[in-house]
C-alpha cells in the first residue's frame, strides 16, 4: 500500500512524518510529496495543516492542480483521506481565521474561533484533553472513550450535519475533535503528538 503525506509547504510536518514513519515501518510505503501524479496513484492520503486556515488554503492553491487532484481522490474516487488539525478544518466551506476564506467544501460547515467565554478559557486550546466518542469510527478501533489526545488550536470546525461528528472534546463547549464521513476522516487533535494512543489512531488509518 502507498500512502502519501501531502507536503504543500505549509507549516511543520516533521512530526507527522516521524509518527507515520514509525507506524508504517515495514508495512506501508510512505511518501511525502506534492507531486500530483504520485498523489493520484496512491491508496491513501494524509493532509496535515498548521498555521492559519487562510495560509493553509492559500498554500494548497499555490500548487497547480493540487486542489482538483485532492477532490478527485477524496470526493470522486472516494479513497481514504485523513485531515489533521487545519487539514481537517479545510474540509469546511469557509473559515474565518485571518480573513474569510473559502475552504475545500467537502463537508458542509464553517470554521470559527472557539468561544472562550470572554477569556474564561485560554486560547489557544493547548494540551491533553479527553475525547468523547460520539459514533463508531474506523480510526478509533480499540481506542477507549475518554482517551487523551494532544490539541493545539484556537479555531473549531462546526459541520452543518452533526452526524459526521465522531468525537468531541470539552473546552468551553463541546468542540468537534474528529469527523468521519464515508472515506473522509479528520482529527482536530494531533495523533502524531498523542503518544502511543495517537500512534494507534494512525495505525487504524493505515490498516483501513
Amino acid at each position: 500500500m502507498n500512502v502519501t503525506i501531502v507536503d504543500y509547504q505549509s507549516g511543520n510536518i516533521s512530526s507527522v512524518i516521524n509518527s507515520f514513519t514509525e507506524v508504517a515501518k515495514g508495512k506501508v510505503n510512505l511518501e511525502v510529496t506534492s507531486d500530483i501524479n504520485k498523489i493520484k496513484s496512491c491508496d491513501k492520503i494524509v493532509l496535515p495543516g498548521q498555521g492559519s486556515f487562510k495560509s493553509c488554503v492559500d498554500s494548497l492553491h499555490k500548487i497547480s492542480g493540487l486542489v482538483d487532484t485532492l477532490r478527485d481522490f477524496a470526493i470522486t474516487n472516494k479513497k481514504p483521506l485523513l485531515g489533521i488539525c487545519v487539514g481537517l478544518q479545510m474540509f469546511a466551506d469557509v473559515g474565518y481565521e485571518e480573513a474569510e476564506t473559502k475552504g475545500l467544501g467537502w463537508i458542509a460547515g464553517k470554521v470559527s474561533r472557539i468561544d472562550n467565554q470572554n477569556g474564561k478559557f485560554k486560547l489557544p486550546h493547548i494540551g491533553w484533553n479527553e475525547i468523547e466518542i460520539q459514533k463508531e469510527s474506523k480510526i478509533f478501533k480499540d481506542i477507549k472513550n475518554k482517551s487523551h489526545m494532544y490539541f493545539v488550536h484556537s479555531y473549531e470546525f462546526i459541520p452543518d450535519d452533526k452526524s459526521v461528528i465522531s468525537a468531541t472534546t470539552d473546552y468551553s463547549s463541546k468542540i468537534v475533535c474528529s469527523v468521519e464521513k464515508d472515506n473522509l476522516f479528520g482529527t482536530q487533535f494531533h495523533p502524531e503528538k498523542s503518544d502511543k494512543i495517537g500512534l494507534k489512531v494512525i495505525d487504524n488509518f493505515l490498516k483501513l
Partner: protein, 252 residues
C-alpha cells in the same frame, strides 16, 4: 476537560544535559536523547530542551539532538535557546521540534514574535520570559540566560508578546530557579491574571507540592521542572499521581 501538563525540561550544553543553580553552576545529568525517551515513556506531557550553549557554532549539536529525539518521542517537543532568526526556527521545526521558545530575541524586537507567529502559527511560538523581582509586586525582564537587565516590566512584556501572537508564555523566576524552594507564585498569579494565553511555570521546583502550587495557586496551565526529575528524586508518574490525589486533573 483540559489537563494540566507536566513538562520535564532538559537544559543542554554542548550536547549533554546539565542543570545549574541560579543559572550558573552546571552539573552533568546525562544524554539528552536517552533522557527524553525515558520521560516520554514515563508519561511526560511534553518535553522541553533548552540549549544553553546557544552560540552559533554549536547550533548543529542541538539540531541533531532534536532530530534523534523526534524520531523516538511522540509527544510535543519544545526547543529554546539562541532562537534569533526565522532560519533558526525553520531549522528546529524541520528537525522535528513542535514549538520553539524565544527569549532574548523577543525582548530585543517584539516584531520578531509577530513575524514568527505569522509564518509558523501561534501554536508553535512560545515566548520565554525570565523575570526577577524588583520591588513590591514588580518584576523585571532579564535576558541572555539571566545576565542582562532590561528595565522592562514583566507584566507589560507578557501582554505585549500575547498581542504579537505568542501561543504560550514560559515564565521563569530567576530568584527561584535552582533553589528548590518553589515557584514564585505571586509572579505566576500576576502574569496568568493579566494574559489570556497558557502560562508554563518554571523555576524553583523542589517538591511535588510546588507543582500543585504552580497550578492551583499560580494559575499555570503547565508546570515545568528539571532537577527533581533528573536526579531520580521523583518520576513523572509520582508527580501525576500526587496531583491527581489532590484533585488536580492530569493525564494519567
Amino acid at each position: 476537560m483540559l489537563k494540566n501538563r507536566i513538562i520535564p525540561c532538559l537544559d543542554v550544553k554542548d550536547g549533554r544535559v546539565v542543570k545549574g543553580i541560579n543559572f550558573v553552576k552546571l552539573k552533568d545529568a546525562g544524554d539528552p536523547v536517552e533522557q527524553a525517551k525515558i520521560y516520554s515513556d514515563g508519561g511526560a506531557d511534553e518535553i522541553c530542551f533548552l540549549d544553553i550553549t546557544a552560540s552559533n557554532e554549536n547550533r548543529e549539536t542541538i539540531i541533531d539532538i532534536v532530530r534523534k529525539t523526534a524520531k523516538e518521542c511522540f509527544v510535543p517537543l519544545t526547543v529554546g535557546g539562541g532562537v534569533r532568526t526565522i532560519q533558526n526556527i525553520t531549522d528546529l521545526l524541520l528537525a522535528g521540534a513542535d514549538k520553539v521558545s524565544i527569549n532574548t530575541a523577543a525582548v530585543k524586537n517584539v516584531d520578531f514574535v509577530k513575524e514568527a507567529s505569522k509564518k509558523f502559527g501561534s501554536q508553535c511560538i512560545v515566548v520565554a520570559i525570565d523575570a526577577k523581582k524588583v520591588l513590591g509586586n514588580k518584576w523585571e525582564v532579564f535576558t541572555h540566560g539571566g545576565r542582562n537587565k532590561t528595565g522592562i516590566d514583566a507584566v507589560d512584556f507578557a501582554k505585549k508578546v500575547e498581542e504579537n501572537g505568542a501561543g504560550e508564555i514560559l515564565l521563569t523566576s530567576m530568584d527561584k530557579d535552582g533553589t528548590k524552594s518553589g515557584y514564585d507564585v505571586d509572579l505566576l498569579k500576576t502574569i496568568t491574571n493579566s494574559t489570556n494565553i497558557p502560562v508554563i511555570a518554571s523555576g524553583g521546583v523542589g517538591t511535588l507540592d510546588h507543582l500543585y502550587d504552580g497550578i492551583v495557586k499560580g494559575g499555570a496551565s503547565a508546570v515545568l521542572a528539571a532537577s527533581i526529575f533528573h536526579y531520580g528524586e521523583f518520576k513523572i508518574k509520582d508527580a501525576k499521581e500526587y496531583l491527581n490525589s489532590k484533585n488536580v486533573s492530569v493525564r494519567l
